[in-house]
Amino acid sequence: MTKVVIMDVDGGICARVVGPTGAEHRRLANRVMEEALEQANLSFDEISYVIATGYGRLNVPFADRQITELTCHARGVVSLFPAVRIAIDIGGQDAKGLKIKEGKLIDFVMNDKCAAGTGRFLEVIAAALGVKLEELGEISLKSTNKVKISNTCTIFAQQEVISYISKGIPLEDIVAGLHDAITSRVVKMVRRLKIEPDVVFTGGVAKNIGVVYAMKENLGCEVLVPEEPLFTGAIGAAILGKELTLGAMSKGEPIPRKERRLEEITFFS
């Protein structure tokens, strides 16, 4: 998903937009940007600084600077939860753990092998179960006897799920087992950072209440989730952009902009 946040000089959010990312990153980046400008009732020329982050950061032709999602997430999470020490982000493509000290990112881990332990895993399995992704959380809350999913590979886990279905195991117990599997995989990775509270959980998967519960259970501590867990990276990018702009202005220096264009470009034209 591609997200845009437009922030004013006081840190107020003027616009917040999300759209699906296709293979044509560049076109989509432009489209969501235009939508955000419309929402904020601003023209592109009125935007002082643009930071692009995430996997598509190099494909945003109108950005002044690229900063990794790790730095941006950390900044966004700190703005919402100043006492955060560990941030766990599970998105569609990857899962990451951030270690934060006094508001600064000091270490991080990312999954580097496959899609198990990411949102994609839940998407694939939800399709196999014939339920909507958004319904998984509520379904799992009814579970009384969750199953163990032993396979960490998405494809093999799917086969395991199908075998549970054919055994007549209730859907909620299978879904709760899946949430447990994805969570324990991510927690195992994040433990390398030595977990300390406050722990904040973000990313699209944090919208799934079942995973949030499983996360608390696996960590054995409270887990804080922002109201809009999808936007922390974009918020962080906007804050960093605001700081860079204000920093340059206070020193009387020009804002370090790149030549930018807001027009439709595609990979395939």
């Binding site: 990794t68 790790l70 730095t71 990112l105 000091i106 270490d107 991080f108 990312m110 580097d112």
Partner: protein, 388 residues
């Protein structure tokens, strides 16, 4: 007459067509012996007029043949090297020397011999500890190596020739250290990418030709005016890097790689061989004790039952602190090809050591595939954001 290119231009030529020169030498009647890793004793080859040629893989070429004779869940570097062998790309070699560097290296040595059957083949069963008994054993193993070489060449290896070869290789080591000194200023005079190209070129030439080329490179680099820019200074540690792809990616993200602890770099070249009365003593010691690859077991105090973890780490890794200080390093990239057990097991300890001396580090695992490097970009960039 066509002028032969010099210095770094020549280095780039060799880097992009590694076997060109040794094939010329072969056509002129010389014999070329391939070797894996850092453990085969090159001086013995040089002393018998054999041209040593380091066997590498190719991370830009998909592995298609090796998977029929090696499991896929082992070191992709070794798989790639064997793959090139099976595709005939090392057919020009007159022989191959391999050592018991790691388990996969050992198994692959015998597979190489079986499938490729080179005219000369020798396997050095290098010990895995540095204790006195192991040193003695290593010397005996080198005597066996000497015998097979004498049998293959029909010549006797005289201590005088061996001494000369040691001097020539020590000369190369001294020149490489001199080149590495040119990475100490800020900004460095030579990039990590260029340095790796020089190392690869040296491992593709007879020692004297390499020394001549190194002198040209050093002079050229010393005279540079429009050098590199000041950037975050990094040290890279870990398993083999024989292609510039990873280094180029890291340097492209806004860092200068100013020092390495890898086997196509300082690990291979920094320790000298001491000229002992029996030259084999100096060789056996250097190639077992002084080469610092994690395939060898080391401990601070032999035989002690209660270990002091930090003292142990210090005895094993304090050279990294020296490197960091002398090359003025801001951070360390620990990297390993996937399934490299020896480096994988070493990482937590190296990381603990670096943490203890306050040097930031990041660990990257990769597939020895140029195309698969992209996901590492975010990690490296984020690491640079964290430390600068």
């Amino acid at each position: 007459m066509v002028m032969e290119s010099q210095g770094l231009a020549r280095v780039r030529e060799i880097y992009h067509d590694r076997s060109h020169r040794v094939k010329q030498l072969k056509a002129a009647g010389e014999k070329v012996i391939g070797y894996f890793c850092v453990y085969p004793v090159l001086e013995m080859l040089t002393a018998l007029n054999l041209v040593p040629y380091r066997v590498f893989g190719d991370m830009r070429e998909p592995i298609t043949k090796a998977d029929s004779c090696l499991p896929t869940v082992v070191c992709p570097f070794i798989r790639s090297a064997l793959d090139l062998g099976l595709k005939g790309k090392y057919d020009f070699l007159d022989g191959v020397v391999m050592a018991h560097v790691c388990e996969v290296g050992e198994k692959t040595a015998h597979i190489w011999n079986l499938y490729l059957n080179p005219p000369y083949f020798h396997f050095i069963d290098t010990p895995h500890t540095v204790h006195k008994a192991a040193q003695k054993q290593h010397k005996e193993l080198l005597k066996d190596f000497e015998k097979t070489l004498e049998l293959f060449t029909g010549k006797e290896l005289s201590p005088g020739r061996l001494r000369e070869a040691i001097e020539a290789h020590n000369q190369q080591r001294a020149l490489v250290r001199e080149l590495y000194n040119l990475r100490k200023p800020d900004p460095p005079l030579i990039s990590g990418t260029e340095t790796l190209q020089v190392m690869v070129a040296l491992m593709s030439l007879p020692v004297e030709e390499g020394n001549k080329l190194l002198r040209q490179v050093i002079n050229e680099v010393k005279g540079r005016k429009d050098g590199l820019q000041k950037k975050t200074r990094l040290l890279i540690w870990g398993s083999i890097i024989d292609d510039v792809a990873l280094i180029e990616m890291i340097e492209g993200l806004g860092a200068n790689l100013v020092m390495d602890d890898t086997c196509v770099g300082s690990r291979f070249y920094f320790p000298d061989v001491e000229l002992t009365d029996d030259p084999l003593d100096g060789l056996a010691y250097r190639y077992l004790v002084e080469l610092k690859c994690p395939r060898t077991f080391r401990e601070a105090v032999f035989g002690e039952t209660k270990k002091d973890y930090m003292a142990d780490l210090d005895s094993r890794f304090s050279y990294l602190k020296e490197y960091a200080r002398e090359w003025n390093v801001n951070g360390v990239i620990l990297q390993s090809v996937r399934y490299c057990d020896i480096h994988g097991y070493e990482v937590p300890q190296v990381k603990d050591y670096l943490d203890s001396i306050g040097l930031p580090s990041i660990y990257l695992e990769h597939d020895y595939s140029e195309a698969a490097l992209a996901p590492l970009r975010t990690r490296v960039q984020a690491f640079l954001e964290v430390i600068s």
